[in-house]
Symmetry: C2
Subunit: 231 residues, 2 copies
């Protein structure tokens, strides 16, 4: 019985339900008519009649779009298109425990790539306020006595970098990915997360103060080297 599972793997040929088709129709409708956020979309009953399906099926499709934040609906006003949160879809899927190790590793790699490439946004958007915040975190880290406190500083430091990058979509991306990383750490043979690599947080801050955009990427690479070596 255990062999059967493998052999029957190729079977699931694409089977589209009515709800799938209605969903596609709606997407097409929105795009083709270039409907903008705030604009109304047809009533459930109209859609159902127009496509020749039951209202039930239409509601399934609409329910999907509503989950993604693409539409909103009020009791009598009908439904309107909304500006979706781009990262909403990611948020709905990414949960550490349902992602397998392989994918978690790939997301962790993605994070390393982001941190190294972040420099140019930082130098263009940096402000005294954020630099001082980074200073404070570094100081807090140096005075820290417990491992937990040091890890918290590590997280705060990098999170502040993303804040300073001034890109909300990127920040949100990072926030969603963060919980996954905690699980990756397990595989990373218990590195000392506080004093990673030869470049410290203090060194990175110094580079940011100095406006040294050339130095940033390789400094961050060295800072993350233990992780990179683990790839």
């Amino acid at each position: 019985m255990s062999i059967e599972n493998d052999l029957f793997k190729l079977k699931p040929i694409a089977y589209t339900t009515m709800a799938d088709q209605v969903e596609n129709h709606l997407r097409e409708y929105i795009i083709k008519r270039s409907i903008k956020p705030g604009d109304p979309i047809p009533k459930e009953t109209e859609i159902a009649q127009s496509l020749g399906v039951s209202r039930n099926v239409v509601r399934e499709a609409l329910s999907r779009l509503r989950m993604l934040g693409m539409i909103e609906s009020r009791k009598k006003r009908g439904m309107i298109l909304t500006q979706p949160d781009v990262m909403k879809g990611l948020e709905l899927i990414i949960h550490p425990t349902i992602l397998d190790e392989h994918v978690r590793k790939q997301l962790f790699e993605l994070r390393l790539v982001l941190e190294v490439g972040l420099g140019d946004l930082l130098f263009r958007r940096k402000s005294d306020e954020y630099l001082k915040k980074l200073d404070a975190i570094v100081e807090r880290e140096q005075k820290a006595t417990t491992q937990i406190e040091r890890i918290r500083c590590e997280v705060d430091f990098h999170a502040t970098l993303y804040d300073m990058a001034g890109n909300e979509t990127l920040k949100r991306f990072q926030d969603i990915l963060m919980p996954v990383f905690e699980y990756v750490v397990e595989y990373e043979s218990k590195l000392d997360h506080t004093s990673v690599g030869s470049v410290t947080h203090a060194d990175l801050v110094k580079i940011l103060y100095a406006d040294n955009a050339e130095a940033y990427p390789n400094a961050m690479r060295k800072h993350l080297m233990p992780h990179l070596d683990h790839l």
Copy 2:
């Protein structure tokens, strides 16, 4: 009746439908019981009865999870949990014409960050096969006579870099983002996309051949400088 007034203040914010609640229940159920891909989940009627809602509502919630690739269902076998495609949710939302300019710009920034930070993956995963492919693209680009052909080479070159990075999630991410970039180009006062920056594609390939990981980030930064300057 002054109490009612107080109650009415919080009400309009928190309006969740039954389908929303069932969806959350299901997510919780999956996580708490640490159900793995391939494991079965309860029948629609069981869920409906267990939560005291109509089967219809349950189907809306299940329909959402199915769209995200979190579950699959066969006619009699019931439904099973599946390993979702992490980037599926993004794909469902990201369509250039429904995203506003602001978000498109942020995604374009994200792309620049990725390209600069990509180096370490490339050096660890590079192969003669891919390097030769890059060579061919560079050669094709130099022989190109039309602007269209040059832009195609530009796209091919960077796409091949992502291929070579050997991270399918990252590659998929890039593939989803790509269509958005074409719209960003509009704002970018018609740069000459083929000979961007002072560092050419040929230069980048040379660095890859030379195993010069230190040089990569700043070389790519210079290559993308016209875009970066536009931030």
